[in-house]
């Protein structure tokens, strides 16, 4: 059967969904509607290798236009501003209409913005897309003292890159630890030490009271009355799902678009995947929303399967990474619901991992080490979480014993 399948949003989940649909369905029309003029590209390098000039724009695309042409996947650069779910139509600003039989929403997420005086709104920079990365890259080349508001993944990755470009960097974080939303404090403290050792200043537990612009200098006043002078301000204070378009519709929203384990939303023939989706995870028996590379890819693929008739539960174990200085941080599962913590290793040169267990089963793990030192064990841990099995804690805590042993026992 030939369907008109529209994928709203032109990021990673969209391209993986499109290719998966085409794998199973050679008949239907597949069209991606993207707000950026670029084909889907990788975002992780924007805060790292792109700023450091180790990767260029052309290195970032997931697939070339040839791949889309060969697979008969259309890509339109448009902005949709109205959705009519009842009549299955999408409208652009100038009332162009796209009709669909099946819709996948993969609109992603957008940056939270600081509340600032109107005259400062253009003075604080955010990094989510290639355009913003290019602007930041160009401006920082002429700046020395840079302040980053927000000590999450994006802020710290930028801080690491700018430090490597010999900039003086200050990071201001409102919480009592870095990356506090998902990373355990034990690991966050090790990351913080590395930033400090590399010359970055980390300020915790402080809020911004006011930013004052004085010629080319900004004065940032904190809530303890301390003052930071800086040439350039970047903020990375989290993101929210991009759902404005659906706020006055019947689509069920709750921290994103609510979906079941098959990527189905509350409306028939409407699916959602990636950052925008608050999906049900069968293993954790709860809904969650993730913003990660692996999730965008795998959730897109899962949506693609379900859209093309291959009924598939989404059971992927959450996994994400961050690269800062010469360290690779990885997290698998979820680390905020546990009754026991087990530590493996105590030296980041060999890798340090904290396992979070509940009822003797691993629920999540977070590791940090010199590049390459925690990946294998984190990957094995993902498999152990997936198997939902009771593990030998003695092997977990002893770095001299390979974790492979635990998999072989399954």
């Amino acid at each position: 059967m030939q369907n008109n399948i529209i994928i709203l949003g032109g990021g990673q989940a969209a391209i993986y969904a499109a290719r998966e649909i085409r794998k199973n369905d050679t008949e239907s029309n597949i069209k991606i509607l993207g707000e950026e003029s670029l084909l889907p590209y990788e975002r992780p390098p924007l805060s790292k290798d792109f700023l450091l000039d180790k990767k260029n724009e052309e290195d970032l695309f997931f697939y070339s236009s040839d791949v889309l042409i060969n697979e008969n996947i259309d890509f339109d650069n448009v902005s949709i501003n109205k959705v009519d779910f009842e009549n299955k139509k999408l409208f652009t600003k100038n009332e162009s209409v796209y009709s669909y039989d099946i819709l996948l929403i993969s609109t992603g997420s957008e940056n939270k913005k600081l509340s600032l005086d109107d005259n400062l709104n253009n003075d604080v920079y955010y990094l989510r897309n290639l355009k913003e990365a290019k602007i930041i890259k160009e401006i920082v080349s002429n700046k020395n003292q840079i302040t980053i508001i927000g000590g999450g993944f994006i802020g710290l990755e930028i801080a690491s890159s700018l430090s490597q470009l010999q900039k003086k960097v200050t990071v201001i974080e409102i919480g009592n630890q870095l990356m506090g939303r998902i990373i355990p404090k034990q690991i966050a403290d090790l990351v913080q030490n590395t930033h400090i050792e590399n010359g970055n200043e980390i300020i915790l537990n402080k809020q911004i009271d006011k930013i004052i612009k004085k010629n080319d200098i900004y004065e940032i006043l904190l809530n303890d009355n301390s003052l930071i002078e800086t040439d350039f301000v970047i903020a990375g204070i989290g993101s929210t799902p991009s759902v404005k378009l659906f706020e006055n519709t019947n689509l069920k929203l709750d921290n994103g678009i609510v979906t079941n384990q098959f990527c189905e939303t509350s409306i028939k023939d409407v699916y959602a995947a990636g950052d925008v989706s608050n999906f049900y995870h069968p293993l954790y028996e709860k809904n969650m929303r993730l913003e990660s590379y692996q999730h965008a890819q795998n959730h897109g693929i899962c949506a693609g399967k379900n859209i093309s008739g291959v009924k598939t539960e989404y059971t992927s174990i959450p996994w994400m990474w961050s690269d800062q200085f010469n360290l690779n941080l990885q997290l698998t599962g979820i680390c905020d619901d546990y009754d026991e913590i087990i530590e493996r290793g105590n030296d980041i040169n060999n890798g340090v991992i904290y396992f979070f267990l509940k009822n003797k089963k691993i629920r999540g793990a977070c590791g940090l080490g010199i590049v390459g030192k925690v990946g294998r064990d984190i990957r094995i841990t993902s498999k152990l979480i997936e198997k939902n099995t009771i593990v030998d804690k003695q092997i977990l805590s002893d770095q001299n014993q390979k974790l492979n042993k635990l998999i072989l026992k399954l």
Binding site: E42, F62, G372, G375, R379
Partner: protein, 105 residues
């Protein structure tokens, strides 16, 4: 083929089954694997970002990069899972008198 292209890596018992070792020769790094049906060799650095695959996970016929979980088929070098999209170069391997040799071009 010139005999000198075969470079000795080590003894067969230096690699556990479903595991690998890193082998450096001149200015290049290789990975040599022991799978259930024999020995294989690939370049030692991931094609996605410059990280040694020696710390990666070997599962069945696949090596997974420890940094970003790109996956390659060990026998063909094919990049199977993003972020890896460029194939890994593979090299012929032979075993002679319990010693492993790889042929470097």
């Amino acid at each position: 083929m010139a005999e000198e292209n075969w470079i000795e890596v080590g003894s067969t018992d230096s690699i556990e089954e479903e595991d690998l070792i890193r082998f450096d020769h001149q200015d290049k790094t290789f990975c040599v694997y022991r799978l259930t049906d024999g020995f294989y060799a690939t370049d030692g650095i991931c094609t996605h970002e410059a990280v040694h695959l020696e710390d990666g996970l070997v599962m069945d016929d696949e090596i997974e990069c420890p940094m970003h979980q790109g996956i390659f088929n060990i026998k063909s070098g094919e990049a199977l899972s993003p972020p890896a999209c460029e194939d890994l170069k593979t090299y012929p391997v032979k075993v002679d008198n319990d010693k492993i040799f790889i042929k470097i071009d």
